[in-house]
Amino acid sequence: MGRITFPIGPQHPALKEPESFKITAEGERVVDADVRLGYNHRSIEAACQHRNYVRGQYLCERICGICSHIHCNTFARAVEELLDLEVPMRAKYIRTIVAELERIHSHLLWLGVAGHEVGFDTLFMYVWRDREIVQDLLELISGNRVNYGMATIGGAKMDLTPEIVSKCMEGCKLLLERTEYYKGVATTEGTFLKRVEGVGMLSQQQARELGAVGPTSRASNVPNDIRHDFPYDAYDQIQMEFEPITSDLCDVLGRTIVRVLETEQACRICLDLLPRLPEGDIQVRARPRVPEGETLVRCEAPRGELIYYMRSNGTDKPARVKVRTPSLANWPAALAMLDGAYVADVPITIASIDPCMACTDR
């Protein structure tokens, strides 16, 4: 059988962002997969060195559109570590709630895209319609559908009024119902299962060795979740049962189930924290000049573990900001999954790590 090498990307209907894959296939089986990253590189880390911390945070928030808040939040936490600043509890609650709402929006976006990649456009349309619920909540809270700017260095930017709180609770309850429905679809719809079951296998050992993070690794039964293992913001204030959601299926179906269950968990976290918002300020004043030091902060972005390393030199501009995004960590795992896969499964397999090319390239 002849070998054919065809490109997926940089421009391809399967990819929402540009990256270049060269797939070598024999008939319908992939024998070799190569990836070239870097099409979205914007030198954000270098740009941070020429900007003060406030402008740097604004810039880092725009590394990604889907997980913007978590970048904003983690940057703020890194600077607060360097400043040795304690953020008020109300601000921590607000940051956590916005982070969980962002997780819901990100996972619902992914579910729709996954449906589209396997030709299940009806699922895509329904999920994105329900995603509008959380987008409206985020717009109500912050004024924006993306790039909310809710975390500042020293706390949260805007407060949650009681009306906003009650609307958020209603929205989360509605999302819980819808998530139940999608759980049913993901586990019982025959043609969908045919496309995701047994596809993109990543064993537990492979997941550990290749350094996979987030739902990609949790679906291979590796129970790593920064929110649970190293709680930050208000995650240690959650009163409900909070365990990392894992699956032992090790395939795309496992990742789908993990993300749907995480959406459900995020709704419950919001419903848990919203009624218990503590009184108090939402910001403390932060000094513009940060004393010398270095710090490393981690968090659980929707796609996995996000790491910010920051080094300060006593001025108001950082000496070095280094961002290790979860998408960057998941690429070796994605390429391992493509080994021996069907050509038809390449788009859904790549999509199953929830790749954010903008995060990867910064």
Partner: protein, 326 residues
């Protein structure tokens, strides 16, 4: 044939119920399908003139022929596709069993003409330098193995029951007896599922799976050629749906109405309307299937067709033959 006869034939072939009517109905059927799928997906859907607007837009675009392609073949082949589908439509009786173009064996001719669109895609993908073209061609050929035999057998089953290869005889059988959907329901199911494969619609649209191989064999084609290809798919949907409506759903016959209007001028007119409604019902079924399922991989499609189409239709034919002998 009287002097007016040739003119009448030309009118039938080119205007009504031939080419012009088929193209117009194809555009309407495309709108019907897209609007229905959109509403099922909780969307608005396009306005009624969208397919016509798409055609006009495509006809205004530059028609690019790559160096790799053979000019002659690539120019002619889409025309052949559309022409074969239009020719097949001539033999589908639309308003009565007294159809001017009917002859013994026209069912076989329809089946033959309806296989040509697949080969159009194969040739176009072959002459495309794009690797997506060759991947798409491979999938078109593989998909043929899944649906072609069941489709042919499913349409031949009523022919075996009625002891004739002529479509109008099948209509007469349904007028005198019952509709074939009640006589051979398995054949109806197999015919519809195989038609979904033939039309390359979800769940069997892997030959032009947008998220995998862009447009498959049609990737490199634009302008007039792409317009002809889209037209070919739309008219193929009409012809396939009309064929199944005529053979399995009783065609122009409606219980009570047909006998009441027999012999009058209103008879064929009402019959024609009934056929249109039944064809739209079939298209409704196709759109429902499109909205319900995800896309199957090529080997899943062929396996599924073997288990759920080929074997049942063979069993059905066996049952018919045994019952016939008894």
């Amino acid at each position: 044939m009287e002097p007016g006869g040739e003119l009448m034939s030309l009118f039938y072939i080119l205007i009504f119920p031939g080419f012009a009517f088929l193209v117009a109905f194809g555009l309407f059927a495309d709108f019907f399908d897209r609007k229905l799928v959109a509403r099922l997906q909780n969307r608005q859907g396009p306005p009624w003139y969208q397919p016509l607007a798409d055609m006009i837009k495509l006809l205004g675009k530059e028609d690019i022929i790559t160096d790799h392609a053979d000019r002659g073949i690539v120019n002619l082949v889409p025309l052949f596709g559309l022409a074969s589908v239009a020719a097949a439509f001539l033999y589908v009786p639309l308003w009565s069993a007294e159809w001017p173009f009917a002859f013994t064996g026209d069912l076989i001719v329809i089946l033959y003409l309806l296989t040509i669109p697949a080969f159009v895609l194969v040739l176009l993908g072959w002459y495309s330098p794009n690797p997506f073209g060759s991947l798409g061609t491979g999938r078109v050929i593989t998909q043929l193995f899944g649906y072609e035999v069941p489709f042919a057998l499913a349409l031949l089953t009523p022919a075996i029951v009625a002891q004739s290869w002529q479509v109008t005889d099948l209509l007469r059988f349904q007028l005198m007896d019952t509709w074939f959907i009640a006589v051979v329901p398995v054949a109806f199911f197999v015919a519809v599922a195989a038609l979904v494969g033939k039309l390359e619609r979800i769940p069997f649209d892997t030959p032009h799976a947008e998220t995998e191989i862009v447009e498959g064999p049609m990737t490199e084609y634009t302008g007039r050629k792409l317009a002809l290809l889209k037209m070919m798919f739309q008219t193929e949907m009409v012809v396939g749906s009309a064929l199944i409506a005529v053979i399995f759903l009783g065609g122009p016959y409606f219980p009570g109405l047909t006998t009441a209007l027999a012999g009058t001028l209103a008879g064929p007119v009402v019959g024609f309307v009934v056929v249109l409604v039944k064809t739209l019902l079939m298209i409704f079924l196709l759109s429902l299937i499109k909205a319900l399922f995800a896309r199957l991989r090529i080997e899943q499609m062929v396996n599924w067709c073997l288990v759920w189409l080929t074997i049942p239709i063979l069993l059905q034919i066996l049952i018919i033959l045994v019952l016939g002998a008894v």
